[in-house]
Subunit: 232 residues, 2 copies
């Protein structure tokens, strides 16, 4: 569809993407130069352009792949389930887990949409993908309300509140923190189902092996995320 692609499946390509995700997540896209990227992978800025058509195309590629994988993983998880309570529980725990386990990719995905030129094909494409993902949430909530198992004041408000809670993990979750990922997800599912006044039953639990894979996500390291509060 769009030929503006970046070098995949080569070793240099992967190293560049990994460095780009790290730098874009930490400093932001606008504050990261191609020269910074070059330094991070021991190349000159000109070398980068052998693997990348432009800085913006690189960002778009990362975001496109991340959004697509999130959608596919979500659909893999939801497939066997029909009940809105199960589907909402899976949406909450999978979104939480993705943000906790791949915080750098998630931060780029959630925070750099504004860096794509408005009106460009890439910008429109990423928005469409994000909307396609969010449709799963809209439908789960609408189905639950329609079937009378959810009681909600405003579906949009509820959806956005729960999504904020889930995506927030990319800012603070640490694998060596006080809670395991399973505990975080269980807690968030409990909060979410309480928010829609769903009766406390047993609902589906996320299978983390179905999560998307981002081969370029840098390892969950030292001071990231929130390097500014490492001392806590």
């Amino acid at each position: 569809m769009i030929v503006d692609l970046t070098d995949r499946d080569t070793d240099a390509g992967r190293r560049i993407r990994t460095a780009a995700v790290l730098l874009f997540a930490r400093r932001g896209y606008a504050a990261t130069s191609i020269r910074d990227l070059g330094k991070a992978v021991n190349m000159t800025n000109a070398g980068i352009y052998h693997h990348v058509t432009s800085k913006e195309a690189l960002l778009a590629d990362l975001m496109r792949a991340a959004q697509r994988e999130l959608i596919e993983a979500t659909e893999r998880m939801l497939a066997p389930y029909e009940r809105p309570g199960d589907r909402l529980a899976l949406l909450i725990s999978s979104l939480t887990a993705v943000h906790a386990l791949t915080p750098m990719t998630s931060r780029v995905m959630d925070g750099e949409l504004r860096s794509l030129t408005p009106g460009s094909a890439a910008h429109a494409e990423i928005i469409a993908l994000r909307d396609a993902y969010e449709d799963h949430w809209k439908h789960a909530l609408a189905d639950g309300v329609e079937q009378g198992v959810f009681r909600v004041a405003d579906e949009k408000l509820t959806r956005l509140a729960l999504m904020s809670m889930c995506t927030g993990t990319s800012e603070w979750y640490r694998p060596d923190g006080d809670s395991t990922l399973e505990q975080v997800c269980a807690e968030f599912v409990a909060i979410g189902l309480a928010a829609v006044r769903a009766p406390a039953e047993a609902f589906a639990t996320a299978d983390f092996t179905l999560l998307p894979e981002f081969p370029w996500e840098p390892p969950h390291a030292s001071n990231d995320p929130r390097p500014d509060e490492a001392r806590r």
Copy 2:
């Protein structure tokens, strides 16, 4: 303490700060140039420097003032209350209301800490202010747990989850949306108290007249926030 101040209380100063908050919130600090700022207030870039010592000092000033006002407003609200349930309810609804009513300032406050040079006095100062604010949350949760009125798996996890929910409103809340601010706050308080397993009693309600005032916050306009999804 720090003399690196920006022109306050003059008309030009206010117009510059208003434009800066708008641009920093929309495009990000790094992607906003002093020339952009000049265009927005009908000045050349050189004119800006008559009111601002540097771009970074301007950002620091905005963040410092916003954090200070948030802290002061929070303390005004909390003052009459002792019970952890009341205090948590007020923390939730005031943080939500501030992010909903002054989304641009809030987005800068929450998202641009990384744009202050690490190690600079301003960077350290803003972190200290943010920590001072978050201490109110820590104490409310710790007190509730200690007094046996809250039951919580991990206090840090709970605090960060609830704060994410509250701050998220700066990304999606619209005054002309389906819910009033009072409804949003009430819903979030209910979710928050459920998250700490607090018994359902009557808790204090936020008095919005005690909220901080940001004289530079641009009016809640047309497509902001989330200009990319105006069509929804």
